[in-house]
């Protein structure tokens, strides 16, 4: 038996494969396709304090090995989430992360404060990096000061571990990750999507009503992997690797680069059983390579020349 579990310090995952926020609905959408107990965890869709309608369509555009989205974080808001969804999620034996959003620092804090009062949530993922939403014109993950400030504020309130989700749209992601760590974040997850654009050459209109959206999928994997590698060298808190993971091999690349867990996003759309397949492929990989504990892979990239 191969031991796929990973110890994050603040939390133990039965395996390191987590479904990423915004690509896994509220989890329930996947119940017809997989046994949710089989996956390491999942992150529910980004949650604001109040319900939000999201952006007008078209919200999606397909690109070469990628997907642009500008969903605009529609959702039912924190109250209805705890009333309608959370009770249904408690029956699953997996780690539940809630992706917390806010248009202001105060809203981040408000959502966490509210959710603190409900059972059945294991940790918060702070979405300070969504490229489609503006926090007084900025998104905190674009600079170290704003990152520090919002993480610090939320950490003081939170009764649960905090994972800070970083944006790849920056010059120096290491510096942002370090700020999150200093502010008390228990882990960082990276990357969110890359601000992108596509134009319909017939209509001359952007393919996304919002003009720009975030790029995800296999196209971004090489950039995401580089960022995870860089960050893992420079922080001591666990790093969750995200970006274009479609197969167990892809996940292994992130572990070798230093990720302690991975989040699987776009792949869930293409195959609702993607997470479960990736877990199987990880097991096979470990078997073939004669590895007993998946944790032995973490950071094991061989950069000697």
């Amino acid at each position: 038996m191969i031991d796929l579990s990973v110890d994050l310090g603040f939390l133990r995952l039965k395996n390191p494969v987590i479904a990423a926020s915004g690509t896994f609905g509220y989890g329930l959408e996947f119940d017809p396709f997989i046994n949710l107990d089989d996956i390491g965890g999942f992150v529910v869709k980004g949650l604001y304090s109040r319900p939000r309608p999201g952006n007008p369509p078209p919200r999606l555009a397909e690109t070469s090995s990628g997907l642009i989205n500008a969903i605009g974080l529609p959702g039912i808001g924190m109250k209805r989430f705890t009333e309608e969804i959370l009770p249904q999620l408690r029956k699953y034996d997996t780690t539940l992360f809630v992706n917390v959003c806010g248009e202001t620092e105060e809203e981040f804090a408000e959502v966490v404060d509210f959710l603190n009062g409900f059972d059945g949530i294991d940790a918060y993922e702070l979405n300070i990096s969504c490229p489609n939403v503006k926090l007084e014109g900025r998104c905190p993950a674009l600079n170290p000061e704003d990152t520090y400030s919002v993480v610090k504020l939320v950490k003081e309130i939170s009764t649960r571990p905090l994972v800070t989700k970083l944006s790849p749209n920056v010059t120096n992601i290491v510096e942002i990750a370090q700020s999150a760590q200093e502010a008390g974040s228990d882990a960082v997850s990276l990357v969110n999507t890359f601000l992108s654009m596509a134009i319909d050459t017939e209509t001359r209109k952007p393919k996304i009503a919002n003009i720009m959206g975030g790029l995800s999928g296999p196209a971004i994997k090489p950039i995401a992997l580089r960022m995870v590698y860089q960050v893992a060298q420079h922080v001591t808190i666990p790093v969750f690797g995200i970006g274009g993971i479609m197969t167990g091999q892809d996940a292994v690349e992130f572990f070798l680069a230093g990720a302690k867990a991975v989040e699987v996003g776009t792949a869930n759309f293409i195959d609702p059983a993607a997470t479960v397949n990736i877990i199987k492929q990880l097991e096979q990989y470990c078997q073939t390579q004669g590895i007993d504990k998946l944790e032995d892979l973490i950071g094991a990239v061989d950069v000697s020349s």
């Binding site: 915004g22 690509t23 896994f24 609905g25 959408e29 996947f30 017809p32 396709f33 869709k45 309608p53 999201g54 007008p56 369509p57 078209p58 919200r59 999606l60 555009a61 397909e62 070469s64 090995s65 990628g66 997907l67 989205n69 969903i71 529609p74 209509t203 009503a209 999928g217 296999p218 196209a219 479609m246 776009t266 869930n268 759309f269 293409i270 195959d271 609702p272 059983a273």
Partner: protein, 267 residues
Amino acid sequence: MQKDPSARIVNTKHWGDYFLFSIESPIIATQALPGQFIMIRVSSRDYPLLRRPLSIHAREQNIIDIFFQASGLGTALLSQKTSSDSLDILGPLGHGFSLKGKEDLEDREVALIGGGRGIAPLFFLAQELRQRGAEVVVFYGGKTRSDLPLKDKFLKNGISVSCSTDDGSFGFHGFVTELFEAETEKKSFNFIYACGPEAMLEKTGQIGLQKDIPAEFSLESMMGCGFGACWGCVTKIKSKMGSEWQKTCEKGPVFSAKNIIWLNENK
């Protein structure tokens, strides 16, 4: 709503760039309802990435049919598949046409209006309606004669079809909505079901309103997942609060015509 990773193509036919595939998938076929759709993986690689949504065109025991036009990269790839190839599909997905019981349909006059590839879901629907005793007339429009490849299939199955072409090369010369509107002068319809280009549906909706005929439309929308997980596929629908975005893959693809708010800007 299940995944069938190896649904086998058992038959293929084509007319120009229109294709009809019969696919063996017991788990999906037995659950399918008219107006529902499937999501097909057109490549096992990373490009094209997303599955393609296609309506269930017909169902016969363990077999479902799809009817599609090879219009872009994904449908072109799909069209290259041949008998005995296997397909990875999800289905049946979405809410289909609301099929009233026999008591409501028996001897009722039902108009089915299909434009181009929009004819796809209407065959399955026509068959189910007729089983419930309804009188079905299909209005089938295309740009030109070769856009009406399913005409004979309807006729062979005893379903009456009125055709129109934009260029007059076959049937009524003009839009299918004009053909239908003319027909409403002669005959009174109890229901309209339609699928096709947005302009056709909008016009059909107006006719339905004027004549007070309830109508349901199957809509297309760019879909990320097809099963409610991505929130990418929304349609603007009237609600108590004015309007709301509803997931086309979950609440649709069939919506009641009177609830749809058309967004011409985004087309």
